[in-house]
């Protein structure tokens, strides 16, 4: 049943929710932690906290599924959430924000500073977008079209994140904030790595809070995949050089130079840690 309020709707199922979204111009309200910062907030909200479909955390053989309205705290408390995701979530803001902020909201806000989105990039997660005409699954990298520009239709909602289970075990996560808590990322790095019988089977890195969109370059990472460790060592400088060109930082409270230098330092450190 939908509770209809002045300036807001509280649906209790995904079907109700999508029906409302299709008919009206409503701002989805997930955790509210980005939305509520604005002083002059007009319009009407579509509250997502009572929709069971958006709160589910489940798995199958190949994938983990996180409902978009799961809060950071709910995921931190879930046995299914992988360590790399928890590493990032545990450093978001502070407890009160983690208790309300959701992954769907974090992604949907469209910022390259979104700490959970960085993990979804590096893990090659896909987003389930639900709309009045059905669902579609979009790789997160394709979902971000530019700064605050998303591949999302007016009738659609981010309903779930699908994260492949493979390659999650060996990871690196680094966040640079202005302090240890309550910090917005000034730079963040995530990497995944796997090797089998001396050959690199997987390598993925992503850089957050550097450009308009989180940087994830599979084409560059493929320079290392399939190589033996000695071969990878030989290719290391070319790999780093490729990222040096690929990373074009924007300037904010910290300079573009700082961002670039630190990104490359963290990339090199990641390779060191992985034995390259």
């Amino acid at each position: 049943m939908v509770t209809i309020l002045a300036n807001g709707f509280v649906p209790e199922s995904l079907a109700e929710c999508l029906e409302l979204k299709a008919k009206r111009s409503l701002t989805p309200y997930a955790g509210g932690t980005d939305l509520m910062i604005e002083e002059d907030r007009g319009g009407q909200y579509l509250f997502l906290h009572k929709i069971p479909e958006l709160k589910r955390i489940r798995e199958d053989d190949d994938n983990l599924y996180f409902g978009a309205a799961c809060t950071f705290t709910e995921l931190l408390e879930s046995a299914l959430a992988p360590a790399i995701l928890k590493a990032a979530l545990s450093r978001i803001a502070a407890p009160a924000i983690r208790n309300t902020g959701t992954i769907g909201g974090n992604i949907g806000n469209g910022s390259a500073k979104a700490d959970s989105a960085l993990i979804f990039f590096v893990t090659d997660s896909a987003l389930k977008l639900s709309g009045s005409k059905g669902e579609r699954l979009v790789p997160i990298q394709d979902f971000y079209l530019g700064r605050k520009k998303l591949d999302l239709q007016p009738d659609e909602l981010i309903s779930e994140v699908r994260m492949p289970k493979k390659w999650l075990s060996k990871y690196d996560y680094q966040k640079i904030g202005a302090r240890k808590s309550l910090a917005i990322s000034r730079l963040s790095f995530a990497g995944l790595f796997a090797e089998e019988n001396g050959a690199i089977t997987h390598c993925a890195v992503a850089f957050g809070a550097v450009s308009d969109v989180i940087i994830r370059r599979k084409d560059l990472d493929s320079l290392l995949i399939g190589k033996t460790i000695p071969d990878a060592k030989a290719a290391k400088s070319a790999y780093i050089k490729a990222y040096e060109e690929a990373i074009v930082p924007i300037r904010g409270r910290v300079s573009a130079e700082y961002r670039k230098e630190t990104c490359l330092n963290l990339l090199k450190d990641f390779l060191n840690k992985m034995g390259i």
Binding site: L5, G8, G32, L35, G43, Y45, A93, P95
Partner: protein
């Protein structure tokens, strides 16, 4: 035609028929006169407006009223009636952890959320638990100590 919504405010069923987009902080302060809920920034950055929503600490400035529909909200005005508050009150007083006092209502509710999750937290867990509640006066040591004392002295309450 809008429905009104109900929520449990400090243990009492409460009917609200105002805007769903209004800040919980403003509604608590202006409509229910719960001025123990402090406004420090309206941006989720200071924790002075912390309340407990369905058992979890949240910033009331970052919470729209629609989110509260059907939920339970506890502010310092409700919490101060509990035995747990008395234990915290005694502990905070014993180390003079209250200076200007503006962060304190939020800090007390953060203390409750630390202890209700873990009755015997380490110092690190205490620090983490109040890490979203800025205090400019104390340097935090006394507050951290107070929560530790409350955990010990109030053993069994949490």
């Amino acid at each position: 035609m809008a429905d009104s919504m109900t929520f449990i405010l400090n243990g009492k069923e409460t009917v609200y028929s105002g805007s769903a987009t209004a800040r919980l902080l403003d509604v608590l302060r202006n409509e229910y006169n719960l001025t123990g809920v402090k406004c420090g920034c309206k941006e989720g950055e200071c924790g002075a407006c912390s309340v407990i929503l369905d058992g979890r600490l949240v910033n009331s400035c970052m919470t729209a009223m629609g989110r509260v529909a059907g939920s339970g909200v506890v502010t310092i005005e409700g919490y101060r009636e509990t035995e747990r508050f008395k234990a915290l009150d005694k502990a905070y007083a014993s180390v003079s952890a209250v200076q200007c006092g503006f962060c304190i209502p939020g800090m007390v509710l953060a203390s409750e959320c630390i202890l209700s999750k873990n009755a015997h937290p380490t110092e690190e867990e205490i620090r983490e638990g109040i890490s979203g509640n800025l205090c400019r006066c104390t340097g935090y040591n006394a507050i951290v100590k107070a929560i530790g004392i409350a955990a010990k002295e109030g053993d069994g309450l949490w």
